[in-house]
Symmetry: C2
Subunit: 385 residues, 2 copies
């Protein structure tokens, strides 16, 4: 196996979307290359084995592979085993389709019927876009949904059609209020995407400082975590990721401001949709999560004819902020992902940590599926997307 650069900084979903000048990945452990087609083939084989239909399999595999392509490894192949386990236990239903409970010209209330999150998300965002194209705005809330992975996937779905897309989801309660020592709401996520002629603005963030994935990653790497990420069971900030994982108590970003943003997201996604919310969401995956999500599409053409030019000017102005260090320019949300996509294109394959690949050897064995083939000499082959 080729020991390759491992993009550790990108794994935590909290880093997605910020123009934080994270240095390029440093060699911290063993990573192997997998061709994109091979990753897709493996995901499809596994999903088909648990009974997912071929058309859905294509959609889910594309979604997971693109998350890894964008450097958002926490929501890519890494998630497959959880999806497979939820499908096998019936927490996510193989043959379910989302349905509309009620709708107006600009809003819809959708029942996800426990379909996989990506299927609910695609359905809802397409509906929101359709409504926005006729009413200027489309606002869709979904209940009985499943984990929907990379939120910017759905927001970008609106952006490629020239609309602004905004997506939110609630999650299991793992985030503390400041001056608290218990978690009541989750580090709920928010994504916002819009496209100009020259720039893309692709924000995807959680309301916590970092997410559980970043703690897991530090644990795997036997590293300390900085103070202010997570707390031990007593609610005191800890540097030990194993203690932090045992307590699952994350600190909100910006103290009360992050906490309040997360509460607003839960109000819209959970309370308004009829899904679970706050401490009603199970922490231990012992029952279906019944998550709630919000999908908003907004058509700028209803407001301005030259929105794209103004957006490009806005993005240019942010990029031209005077950096504290010249070598460290100010980046737009989504620029890190673009850098990772270039990095993957240079490698011509996806770099996966060996710990992850070892896990999927066992999964392949259990499901009687051909294991993931590593791209030893084949890493020169062309990426297919």
């Amino acid at each position: 196996m080729l020991p390759l650069l491992r993009p550790a900084q990108w794994l935590g979903s909290c880093f997605r979307g910020y123009h934080m000048p994270v240095p390029f990945p440093q060699q911290r452990g063993e990573t192997s290359l997998v061709l994109v087609d091979e990753a897709r083939r493996f995901i499809q084989d596994c999903l088909m084995r648990v009974g997912v239909s071929p058309s859905k399999v294509r959609c889910i595999s594309e979604f997971l592979v693109v998350a890894d392509y964008r450097g958002n490894f926490g929501h890519g192949l890494n998630r497959l085993d959880v999806y497979l386990s939820d499908l096998q236990r019936g927490y996510a239903k193989v043959d379910a389709e989302p349905t509309v409970i009620s709708e107006t010209v600009a809003t819809a209330h959708v029942n996800g019927n426990s379909a996989l999150g990506v299927l609910v998300g695609n359905f809802c965002m397409d509906l929101a876009v359709k409504k926005a194209q006729s009413a200027g705005i489309g606002f869709v809330v979904a209940r009985e949904s499943h984990h929907f992975g990379m939120a910017s996937w759905y927001a970008f779905r609106a952006a490629v059609q020239g609309l602004a897309g905004m997506v939110m989801s609630n999650s299991a309660p793992t985030m503390m209020a400041p001056n608290s020592k218990s978690a009541t709401i989750g580090p709920n996520c928010l994504a916002f995407c819009v496209k100009g002629k020259d720039y893309h603005f692709v924000l995807d963030m959680a309301a916590s400082m970092r997410d559980i994935g970043a703690l897991e990653w530090a644990c795997i790497n036997d590293e300390y975590i900085p103070h202010g990420w997570a707390a031990n069971k007593g609610g005191i900030s800890t540097c030990f990721p194993n203690l932090a994982l045992r307590s699952s108590l994350l600190f909100p970003a910006g103290g009360h401001k992050g906490y309040c943003m997360s509460a607003v997201i839960d109000l819209l996604c959970g309370v308004l949709s009829g899904a679970q919310y706050a401490t009603h969401i199970p922490l231990d995956q012992s029952q279906p999560a019944n998550l709630g999500q919000v999908f908003i599409a907004l058509d700028p053409a209803f407001f301005l004819p030259n929105f794209m030019e103004r957006l490009d000017d806005f993005c240019g102005r942010i990029q031209n902020s005077q950096p504290a260090e010249e070598s460290n320019p100010i980046r737009l949300p989504g620029e890190l992902e673009r850098m990772h996509m270039n990095y993957v294109e240079d490698l011509r394959a996806l770099p996966y940590p060996n710990t992850l690949l070892t896990k999927y050897k066992d999964v392949a064995f259990k499901l009687c599926v051909k294991p993931i083939e590593l791209a030893f000499e084949r890493c020169q082959s062309k990426k297919s997307f």
Copy 2:
């Protein structure tokens, strides 16, 4: 004059809406009591003297007095001199009325025509509520607007009608991106209000750690500010409020997350509306600001019949989070304001700093208006709202 408690912690708009356990105001300087009716009378006299019509005068004075009543002194009487000066210079127009540029069943694009922000805001939120009552959601963007003060005023306007209200506004560029030493966007504000049967959720926050008002307050009180609030001209965090005020460089709350949230607000309020945005907004009040604002109303009745019960349960769960110290319970957004309202009701008058009252002695003299009368012995009289 009675030296009374001065609610220094409430002055910065950054503190509005958080359930931060700020201790009750401590005696740090001279404060005088003014009866609510007297504050209202003074505001009305001043506004009429610069030519504002009686019906608008009533609306503006109510808006400013309620901000002080809620403890949001930065947007109350304190703002009057800026409004008067802008009205006199024509940056805000005395007789202007907002007009609808274009609309759909769920959206509207409004031209504020440089009317005072509160008039634009009331008009837009009422329009959003009307649209939400027929289409489920109302989304209104305004251009050519003026400073609109306390954002939660408008969001609450939707909440009292049983809807959820969300309001945003952009502002002059005084907030730095992390690792930057120049400000490209403002500490744009966001308010979200919704009412249950037992609870109100009233969030009102800026995306910066603290706002310029908090720096001014520290300066007046000859106090240091904590590191992380604002920077000097070199972009380095400073403890000296005078240096911070000279540079006007605020730090975002939660680093990149606060900065990105602020960018999303500016994209919707400024770029989408056709108003000024980012560094286009003048810093020095040498020309009309032409701000952009967004008003969203959402009718929960289109989604759930029992939204209020669920909201009450959600708020109760947050309040029941286990606090780090039993004496310091977790508070909901808006609870501090409620505490301040009780405090004002106990005083039966509004407590204003003497520095502020001295400023308005000069204003009264210039405008030939009766100065503010202090509530020496009359502080037992009943508050009128």
